[in-house]
């Protein structure tokens, strides 16, 4: 189907099902229960899952296939966001032109930085990309404030000119981002017994873009171009002496992944029209590296899983505070309750970084292939147990060997 082989089609279908049903899957706990804290099915976080999934998929095309470790990819995401917000300010609140422009600008930016950085390889390449991104961040935060609005971040105001559209909505507020009239912030709620599921227009737009991005990445992985990129990672000398020029291949991969980053940045601005400079900081670049490795570099689904994992921890764990913990353990006698709260407390709320750090270490120690390998092992365990059908995720993951 769609020019994919059976395995890849299955994988795509699984991802399709997961993204379309995400409002259900991510909200497994009744709204009123103590565990509702773990529900992630609200629009903002679901959008983030999709957006960072796209970012990581794109990064993986460069890093997973060619092995070139860019430490400055956040710069492209930032540039994409800034372009999109400027489009909203100057042109129209329709997200399509904004996103197209962010992809183009990020691609051009990647072309320039990639052209220079790819003159070196290995860690020298990494540091060059890092240096470019850090320069972009530092300048965006300070000297370029007229363009980027520095510390606060570029945002819409009531005085934006906006050629196609009005500066202010009828009720005097700033107009909202839309796709030909469909407002990105609009949502539908569905109550089923104690559960409530939210279907947000913004999320479904992101999800469709994610699916397209994912589909394209499968095509790239399976294409002769993808094979060349893997050959570059494997042995550049041989490639050179086989009459192939690695430079344009790596540069193309760099630009493509930069465009993916720009797409993610544009989407981010489309969901929430603000672009902050921190998006370009090295920590943000490091985050996508971690997402990719955590999920499984070079696998198709891994980066998406990694992105979801990190964003989940950041947004869910950080919100668990002491009183929530007391709520959970309230069924215990007071002394025991306090004891458990004291044990769990350092790992949640303000300690969410600690849990994330421990998770990184555990995954890399026990699952060298990242979360995808975890899925494969679970899948294998299931198959051993009388060939029971494995979970969808494990099934998806096991498609991956040989990447």
């Amino acid at each position: 189907m769609l020019g994919l082989n059976k395995k890849d089609t299955n994988l795509l279908l699984v991802v399709l099902a997961l993204t379309m049903l995400a409002p259900f899957i991510l909200n497994p706990f009744p709204t009123d229960s103590g565990l509702a804290q773990f529900n992630a099915g609200y629009p903002d976080l679901m959008q983030r899952f999709a957006i960072f999934g796209i970012f990581a998929i794109g990064f993986n095309i460069l890093f997973g296939l060619t092995g070139y470790l860019s430490f400055g990819h956040a710069a492209f995401l930032g540039v994409g966001s800034y372009s999109a917000v400027w489009m909203f300010k100057l042109l129209s609140m329709n997200i399509l032109p904004a996103i197209i422009l962010s992809v183009i600008i990020a691609g051009l930016f990647a072309l320039v930085i990639g052209y220079v950085s790819l003159r070196r390889s290995g860690i020298y390449f990494s540091i060059l990309t890092l240096a470019f991104a850090q320069m972009s961040f530092a300048l965006a935060y300070s000297v370029l404030t007229p363009v980027t609005n520095g510390e606060t971040g570029l945002q819409l105001t009531l005085s934006d000119p906006r050629i196609l559209g009005s500066s202010a909505a009828a009720d005097g507020s700033i107009p909202v981002t839309n796709l030909f009239g469909l407002e990105m912030r609009s949502a539908w709620d569905m109550a089923v017994g104690p559960w409530t599921f939210t279907f947000s227009a913004g999320y479904y737009f992101c999800a469709i873009v994610l699916l397209v991005a994912f589909y394209l990445s499968i095509r790239i992985f399976r294409s002769p171009f993808g094979m060349m990129l893997r050959a570059i990672k494997s042995n550049q000398t041989r490639l050179n002496y086989t009459g192939l020029n690695p430079k344009p291949y790596t540069l193309a991969a760099f630009v493509i992944s930069g465009m993916y980053a720009g797409l993610a940045g544009g989407l981010m601005a489309a969901m929430d029209p603000l672009a902050g400079a921190e998006r370009m900081q090295w920590t943000a670049s490091g985050e996508v590296v971690l997402m990719t490795i955590l999920g499984g570099a070079g696998t198709l689904i891994g980066p998406v899983l990694g992105a979801g994992m990190i964003k989940y921890f950041e947004n869910i764990l950080s919100k668990i505070n002491e009183s929530v913990l007391h709520g959970w353990f309230a069924f215990m006698p007071d002394g025991l309750e306090d004891f458990f709260v004291a044990i769990v407390y350092p790992f949640v709320g303000k300690g969410w970084h600690l849990t994330l750090g421990i998770l990184f270490m555990l995954v890399v120690i026990f699952l060298p292939g990242g979360l995808v390998e975890g899925g494969q092992r679970i899948g294998a365990a299931f198959r051993r147990k009388g060939k029971k059908a494995g979970g969808a995720e494990a099934e998806a993951a096991k498609q991956q060997p040989g990447e």
């Binding site: 300070s142 507020s173 609009s186 603000l274 709520g327």
Partner: protein
């Protein structure tokens, strides 16, 4: 132990179907609720968005303590704190409008992106009707913008930039904390008294929006007193070692160094300045002086010995002797064992003010709350200005205070403080040198440093 449960937005909304049947989808934008996150259960959820990771984590932790205390007092637990001294008596200690107050917390990471994500989850997932907290202006402006769009109330935490209620002001946002202009206006006369009017100042300024407005304000108010500004040098936010910025001060002919830095930047630049012997230096026959226009207790603690004798300004100090302050310090100190910081104070007050406004408005509807916070047009004594109109209250620690309806900025006396030479305890770091009366720090809403913004219309989110 009490369990705090969250009323999630719309659990029982619009005649939700009981049992397992599917509900008819209702448009978010056109649902039966009058406004976003209307509390329908017996609780109401507030969102406290503070830095929990990164350099301002301790400040965030202190804000969170104040929020918890405020929630306790609103729910009628504890000793009631400033509810007893507050001039408005609308709050009865039975929650807000009879609904028990619950809260959710989040981590801003002191990044505008993360802060917005966290605030969004509070609004979308937890059904918060009000967001408060934060310890930087970038975050405050970003979250304020979000709350305006989403249709909830934003009660700013610690934010000092002129922009928050200047060019970035929003109808749904309110600031109790003072701002850079007020710092300059309050400090200048004290600086003149202490150091004379013939001084040459050298500014080091953090190279981002807050730093610039701070520097601009101080420069304007000191120059008005006859000071000369020798140089203004911008320093990168990421700088940790300020030696290369301090060294040129030595031979610049300046006799005052103004550090427009906050947080870790301020601790490091002050430490470096003291290292270079600036405090023991004599220039132009005068003692060299260092001024830090804005500092907090935590920064003073971080700076240790170096803060001694350094002049700066504060929004509030726990050692003030008014009844409100005493009540607040007592309940905070009893609960946590140490006195509250000014960030904690402002967060506590903001929560109380919000609750009071809701109680007076009789509804959680944002536009009604905005109207209640904008007050009845009463004005502050001693200030002769057409814009002197809004909500006047007292008993929350700063004396009579005006929430000005024109820009949603609080006006009250500003404290000029000094690092204590002989602290009696580890909390006793700052002493109040002067309480600058409000008329000296007053400005008009169209003052050039605040111009360019527009409150816009309040937004109910419906």
């Amino acid at each position: 132990m009490s369990t705090s449960r969250f009323t999630r937005r719309g659990v029982l909304k619009t005649g939700a179907v009981a049992g397992a049947g599917l509900a008819l989808p209702t448009m978010f934008t056109s649902r039966a609720n009058a406004y976003v996150n209307e509390p329908t259960g017996d609780t109401v959820t507030l969102g406290f968005n503070v830095p929990q990771s990164g350099p301002y984590a301790d400040e965030g932790a202190d804000e969170l303590r104040a929020f918890e205390l405020a929630v306790e007092h609103l729910n009628g637990e504890g000793d009631g704190g400033m509810l007893n001294t507050f001039s408005s008596k609308a709050l009865k200690g039975n929650g807000i409008l009879g609904k028990k107050v619950a809260y959710v917390t989040g981590d801003t990471q002191t990044k505008s992106d993360a802060a917005r994500a966290s605030a969004k989850s509070m609004i979308e997932k937890d059904g918060a009707v009000m967001i408060s907290g934060g310890s930087s202006s970038g975050v405050a402006v970003a979250v304020q913008g979000l709350c305006q769009e989403a249709g909830v109330i934003f009660m700013a935490g610690l934010t000092h930039s002129n922009d928050t209620t200047g060019k970035d002001k929003k109808a749904n946002g309110f600031r109790h904390f003072f701002d850079a202009y007020m710092s300059g206006a309050a400090l200048a006369p004290v600086l003149k008294n202490e150091y004379g009017s013939d001084r040459r100042a050298y500014h080091l300024t953090a190279d981002y929006t807050w730093g610039w407005t701070q520097q601009e304000s101080i420069q304007a108010s000191t120059e008005a007193l006859g000071w000369e500004t020798v140089e203004n040098v911008l320093t990168p936010l990421a700088a940790t070692d300020f030696s290369s910025y301090i060294a040129p001060v030595l031979n610049s002919g300046a006799d005052v160094l103004v550090l427009n830095h906050y947080g870790g930047n301020m601790v490091n630049s002050l430490t470096n300045a003291v290292q270079f012997g600036l405090r023991d230096k004599q220039v132009n026959g005068k003692n060299f002086e260092i001024v830090v226009p804005l500092y907090s207790e935590l920064m003073a603690k971080g700076a240790g010995e170096n803060i001694k004798g350094i002049l700066g300004s504060c929004n509030w100090q726990w050692s003030l002797q008014d009844e409100g302050t005493k009540a607040f310090v007592k309940s905070f100190g009893t609960k946590y064992g140490f006195p509250p910081s000014q960030a904690a104070h402002t967060c506590y007050v903001q929560t109380i003010l919000y609750a009071d406004a809701v109680e007076r408005a009789g509804t959680f509807e944002p536009c009604a709350v905005v109207a209640a916070l904008e007050g009845d047009g009463s004005s502050l004594e001693g200030v002769d200005s057409a814009s002197n109109a809004g909500l006047v209250f007292d008993g929350l620690g700063n004396g009579p205070t005006l929430y000005r309806s024109a820009d949603h900025q609080c006006f009250k006396d500003v404290l000029v403080t000094k690092g204590k030479e002989n602290p009696t305890s580890e909390f006793d770091l700052l002493e109040v040198v002067e309480v600058t009366p409000v008329d000296q720090v007053w400005y008009e809403p169209d003052h050039p440093m605040f111009a360019g913004g527009d409150l816009g219309q309040c937004n109910n989110g419906a």
